[in-house]
Amino acid sequence: MKKNNEKRNLISIEVFGLLLGLLWIAPFYLMIVNAFKTKRDIFTGVLGFPEEWITGNFVEAFIDLEFLKSLFNSILITGLSVGIIIIFSSMAGYALARNKSKLSAVMFFVFVAAMLIPFQSVMIPLVALFGQAGMLNAGGLIFMYLGFGCSLSIFLYHGAMTGVSKSMDEAAIIDGANRFQLFWRIIFPLLKPISVTVGILNVIWIWNDYLLPSLVLSEANATIPLKMFFFFGQYTKQWHLALAGLTIAIIPVIIGYFFAQKQIIAGVSEGAVK
């Protein structure tokens, strides 16, 4: 009797969850379905299926978004920034964790405290400074991402270092390796799980970032979000094209999510909980 009750309970929770899930993906459903409609078809109604499924919107949006170019820019900027963040933050996390001096503790504190500063509080002088140095370009942007991204990354690496025994260091030093070799050959491979987390968190952030690239990059070097902003402004009230463009812009993320779903959820969970 009690068992039955519990089973019924679970089934109703499951049904409720599934309904909520449907509601959750409804915006994506509406986006995709209407991207296949003509302008007139959207005007008659947005809730049902298209009268006729047309693909022309996607072709037009793909060309107007210069999608391959924006995709390339996004991949380049995200890839390089995240690579640099991982390399330099892991080195710093290691150095700060192994050095027990007061200075080391103070510096760690500064890195963590810097996380409190919101982007808007440094944005204006930052853009002015980089503008005067002629660094408002992709290279400057990547350096900025190192500056903004290193705090959290160092914090995570620093935490992970507690799990790496000091005897590792000593054994390698006795074998005649210098600090640099020691780090890259022995320590960094041991930090791989946290590197995955750091990588995922930074990819999600940089891939989707809009405001900073909008202040730094010209339209010719636009990343996907930046290009999307220009594109959308051009097509207000032309939902069939705007929605096709939005669908295209989301596809790379969905592909990535499909392949690395487990790591992404685990990485985000770890990044937030620590």
Binding site: E14, L18, M91
Partner: protein, 286 residues
């Protein structure tokens, strides 16, 4: 300098330069500039507190602060409610648990800018159609009044970020020993008693983290604000982050915008530090 100290500094130089040039120096410069008539290129003179006095008298800025505070309050409440709710659903022994986690989390991976554009379509066209079909006037013109625009941003943010908060609660919920719940069941504790006396206290640290995260996320929202309402109608749904960006890069009033940015920093850090302090204290007491 010993070999050790040298390598310590070599390992730290890149990030020290990065944080220094990108965050620390601009932050300090910004503090100084906020007391001048800086125009983005040079500052002619110190004008003391003039920028700060001006911003407290500016209706548009104070309106943005109030709107953002209201938003943060509602956002923190709803995000944690939804996040915990979703987590409680997907940690039950149901078949679709993994599928649902994937679905609820998905909007997080997509940028606020793109999501805001999608919801613009929903609030304008889809809601318009729903209003036509049901005859309910309330669905019409969601982005054309300040009040419904507010709820528009709230709905968008909850939909986007609840899955993220869910992940945090899941991490804690799954750490609760199963036999503890079983033992309580055998002792005849009701589901509510089990939640109140076992689940809730053990999940308390997740509240600290989630409150801190949602609060600072809510205060710093920009992309969603830009793409969904762009501050409209008549700047009534403009949040602080956007107000600062516009003052700087549309009005070109750099020093004044920087003073607002300093106030923004103060609000964000005071709120965040208070939150952490109180939550830590509460956890210890429990």
């Amino acid at each position: 300098m010993s070999n050790r100290t040298l390598s310590f500094w070599l390992f730290l130089t890149p990030v020290v330069l990065g944080l220094g040039i990108v965050v620390v120096i601009p932050f300090l410069y910004g503090l100084v500039y906020s007391f001048t008539d800086w125009n983005g290129l040079r500052a002619e003179s110190f004008i003391g507190l003039e920028n700060y006095i001006r911003l407290f008298q500016e209706d548009e800025f104070m309106q943005a602060v109030w709107f953002t505070t209201k938003f943060a309050f509602v956002g923190v409440l709803l995000l944690n409610l939804f996040g915990l709710g979703l987590a409680l659903i997907v940690t039950r022994n149901i078949k679709s648990s993994n599928l649902l986690r994937t679905v609820f989390f998905m909007p997080n991976l997509i940028g606020g800018l793109i999501l805001g554009f999608i919801w613009q379509f929903i609030f304008i066209s889809v809601f318009g159609d729903i209003s036509g079909l049901t005859g309910i006037e309330g669905f019409n013109g969601w982005l054309s009044t300040a009040n419904t625009g507010f709820w528009g941003i709230v709905i968008l943010t909850c939909w986007q970020m609840a899955g993220y908060i869910m992940i945090i609660y899941i991490a804690y919920l799954e750490n609760i020993p199963k036999d503890l719940i079983e033992a309580a069941k055998i002792d005849g504790a009701s589901p509510f008693q089990r939640f109140k006396n076992i689940t809730f206290p053990l999940v308390a640290p997740a509240f600290t983290i989630s409150m801190f995260l949602t609060l600072s996320m809510s205060f710093k929202i920009y992309d969603q604000n830009l793409s969904l309402t762009n501050g409209g109608p008549a700047d009534q749904t403009q949040m602080v982050a956007m107000e600062i960006v516009n003052t700087a890069f549309s009005d070109n009033d750099m020093a004044y915008a920087q003073a607002k940015a300093v106030i923004f920093f103060l609000i964000v850090s005071v709120v965040a530090l208070t939150q952490v302090y109180y939550n830590k204290k509460r956890e210890v007491e429990m």
